[in-house]
């Protein structure tokens, strides 16, 4: 009889196994790094999977230009400390090159625009596998996706044509032009991620913890950061609050939550008490339609 493991060990073991399968099966993989807690966990897991070797893939950051400065500082420090390769591609360059319409409105999001940059960088480096930190508990379309998810040459996900995926056997065979998105922490929940961060003592960007910040209080009650990309109006309700970010996306479309959580323990306690889901609390982009994520994924988004 095999010994039963603690669930965090089991989740970690599964993720490391998947990362090593990527290394074993692909010629040119990449790890998509956003500076958020999920991709930070992926880097931590990759250290466990491959050290003392260097990673068999570069970190790739799609920089929307709307990132929190704290995230960029964190990213650069991390890359320096682990001495790995970082590739950065800018959404603004894609907008100029492809003559795309930049995000408009009060909170101009570049969320859908980053898909263009992502597909370009995949083509540029001929990446055959892109590792990402998406989790199935985040959203109902993500809940449906395989761990090895095949994308066609347009980056599209076809939810009705997913390959069967059995046991721990991952089929990474692809045709020319296709690539595979790989999600090693598919089975982790938000709380699992935080418990893992605690156990492993993983350092995070400071905006995950409480700090005082000037925010616009929107009509639907969300706290949006004031910054140069957001159009200020006279009727804006400006508040100074103790907040933290539950997800680290773009400054333009990620809402802060009121919080007094100074430490990882505080955050775990807060999460256990909260009644709002991660994306529901913080993402403006998912409120557009019931199938917003499904549609973005079909178009090549993560």
């Amino acid at each position: 009889m095999s010994k039963s493991l603690d669930y965090l060990d089991e989740l970690e073991s599964e993720a490391i196994y998947i990362l090593r399968e990527v290394a074993g099966q692909f010629e040119r993989p990449a790890l998509l790094f956003s500076g958020g807690k999920d991709s930070i966990c992926l880097v931590h897991l990759a250290l466990k999977a491959f050290r003392p070797c260097k990673f068999p893939f570069p970190l790739v950051h799609i920089d929307t230009g709307h990132n929190f400065p704290e995230t960029i500082i964190y990213r650069d420090n991390l890359v320096k400390s682990i001495n790995e390769k970082l590739v950065v591609r800018y959404v603004l360059d894609t907008i100029e090159k492809k003559k795309l319409q930049d995000g408009k409105g009060k909170f101009p999001t570049r969320n859908s625009l980053q898909t263009y940059t992502l597909l370009d960088v995949i083509e540029e480096f001929e990446f055959d596998a892109c590792i990402g930190g998406a989790r199935r508990d985040e959203e109902k379309a993500r809940a449906k996706e395989r761990i090895f998810s095949v994308r066609d040459e347009f980056g599209q996900w076809d939810p009705k044509m997913q390959r069967p995926e059995l046991w721990n056997i991952y089929n990474g065979k692809i045709n020319k032009g296709e690539n595979i998105r790989v999600f090693p922490i598919s089975n982790w929940t938000e709380l699992d991620v935080w418990n893992y961060i605690k156990r492993e003592n993983i350092q995070l960007p400071s905006i995950y913890f409480t700090h005082s910040r000037e925010c616009i209080l929107t009509e639907n009650g969300q706290l949006m950061n004031t910054n140069e990309f957001v159009q200020r109006e006279e009727k804006d309700v400006i508040v100074q609050k103790n907040v933290r970010y539950r997800t680290v996306g773009d400054m333009t479309c990620t809402a802060a939550i009121e919080s007094e959580a100074y430490t990882v323990d505080d955050i775990i306690k807060e999460l256990l008490e909260t009644k709002i889901s991660e994306r529901g609390a913080t993402r403006m982009d998912d409120r557009i339609s019931e199938a917003a994520m499904e549609d973005r994924k079909k178009g090549g988004y993560f």
């Binding site: 009889m1 095999s2 010994k3 039963s4 493991l5 603690d6 669930y7 060990d9 089991e10 989740l11 970690e12 073991s13 490391i16 196994y17 090593r20 399968e21 290394a23 074993g24 466990k48 999977a49 491959f50 050290r51 003392p52 070797c53 260097k54 068999p56 199935r136 508990d137 959203e139 109902k140 379309a141 809940a143 449906k144 395989r146 939810p159 009705k160 997913q162 390959r163 069967p164 995926e165 059995l166 046991w167 721990n168 056997i169 089929n171 065979k173 692809i174 045709n175 598919s186 089975n187 709380l191 909260t274 009644k275 709002i276 889901s277 529901g280 609390a281 019931e290 199938a291 499904e294």
Partner: protein
């Protein structure tokens, strides 16, 4: 320490499977308020007449919501004070059997839903046979919609006895029954006061307390190389480690091992876990093994204890489920993948076809169509090291891949 239970649910299209999961999540306070708001809004436009259509929680694709059916497996996560759960909500429709296999393959428990009005159906039998083929350690038959049969004990008893009669031939290890109404919430999270004749636990308590038996039942140590770690730096010039996971049993420093398929014997020199040396690595641990001798080892090779060798052959007899829309043409070359090992292969003979309604073996004409379950003889180009699936879920399972389309076309369990 908190344990993780992975289970899957299967049932007919209208057995209320997604509703049951919705109920489990809803009544155990695992759903956030913003999701409930969205659901309430959705239920008004697409859902059924109930206040909140709980099925909408798991039917995550637009096409599923439109048609009111589950097409692909959805994963849901919840935990109580006692346990963490991963649910694979799998489609019941025969057309999507391959997706059901996907959800079921990593589970330790099957919940098979039966509509109390209809009793055992062809689908119930098919789902049970799939559970048997996958060696599911626990099967729970949830007799749902009891509210529509006036909570009749007689009806429940009848279905229970019908099921046990049918299941006799399947060799399922552990079968339990719960009468419930997912829609009304009877015996899901709280014990129903309408079925006082039922002395067992409600579903959630059952799931929290069942002693989990792992599907791999062996203590025999198995390890397959996923990736060779060779830093090739000046200070680590001679470092050559074999990265992989201890899939069963354990490995010890100094242990005598054999590398397969080459058959070369050597000794474990060093075991590393996260760059720390350890003397012993238990099941499921991701490790890097170092061997005394400088032997030629690559991805997909097995490192196993010399006194407990798996079989290493170029032919295997297996039960496979055909998952491709295209029919298998006898003689067609394919790829076989067993964890990290991949080889060219061919199905030499389709020995028999299993009737998925009676579990009896039928004669085969040699072709395999979508959802056929067949006993086959496979010949491989490279020798494969394996155990029987009944002994080891990990080293006894494989998938078949179409070399041309690269699709996964079958799942197999070795006899």
């Amino acid at each position: 320490m908190m344990q993780l239970l992975r289970f899957f649910t299967a049932g007919n299209v209208d057995d209320g499977k997604s509703t049951l999961i919705g109920r489990l999540l809803y009544d155990s306070n695992s759903i956030s308020t913003d999701i409930i708001e969205t659901l309430t809004r959705q239920s008004k436009t697409t859902g059924t007449n109930t206040e909140i259509d709980l099925a909408l929680l798991t039917d995550g694709l637009r096409a599923e919501r439109e048609q009111g059916i589950t097409i692909d497996v959805a994963y849901k996560y919840f935990s109580t004070d006692k346990r963490k759960f991963i649910i694979a909500d799998t489609p019941g429709h025969i057309q999507y059997t391959r997706n059901m296999f996907t959800g079921a393959s990593n589970a330790n428990l099957a919940i098979i839903l039966v509509d109390a009005r209809n009793g055992i159906t062809d689908q119930t039998k098919r789902h049970s046979i799939i559970s048997a083929i996958l060696g599911m350690p626990h099967v729970l038959v949830c007799i749902n919609k009891m509210d529509l049969v006036d909570y009749s004990e007689e009806k429940y008893k009848q279905i229970e006895s019908d099921y046990l009669t049918f299941a006799k031939q399947l060799n399922l290890k552990d079968i339990s029954f719960i009468p419930a109404s997912a829609l009304a919430g009877d015996n899901v999270v709280t014990k129903s006061d309408k079925m006082s004749w039922y002395k067992g636990k409600p579903l959630l308590e059952f799931l929290e307390t069942i002693e989990i038996v792992e599907a791999k039942q062996t203590d025999v140590s198995r390890f397959q190389v996923q990736y060779v770690i060779r830093p090739q730096t000046d200070d680590l010039h001679d470092y050559r480690g074999f990265a992989g996971r201890v899939v069963s049993g354990s490995y010890q420093k100094g242990q005598k091992v054999t590398v397969l398929p080459s058959g070369i014997e050597t000794t474990i020199d060093k075991i590393e876990v996260n760059q720390q040396e350890v003397d012993l690595a238990e099941t499921n641990t991701p490790v890097v093994l170092h061997l005394k001798d400088d032997v030629d080892i690559s991805r997909g090779n097995s490192i196993v204890p010399t006194e407990h060798l798996p079989k290493t052959e170029k032919e295997v007899t297996a039960t496979i489920c055909w998952m491709d829309n295209a029919t298998y043409i006898p003689g067609q070359k394919i790829l076989l993948q067993q964890n990290s090992f991949r080889t060219k292969a061919v199905v030499k003979e389709v020995i028999s076809k299993i009737d998925i309604h009676s579990f009896s073996q039928l004669e085969s004409d040699g072709a395999m169509k979508l959802n056929d379950i067949c006993k086959v003889l496979i010949k491989t180009a490279e020798p494969i090291s394996f155990d029987s699936y009944a002994d080891n879920r990990n080293s006894g399972s494989f998938i078949l891949i179409n070399e041309n389309t690269n699709n996964t076309i079958a799942a197999g369990t070795i006899d």
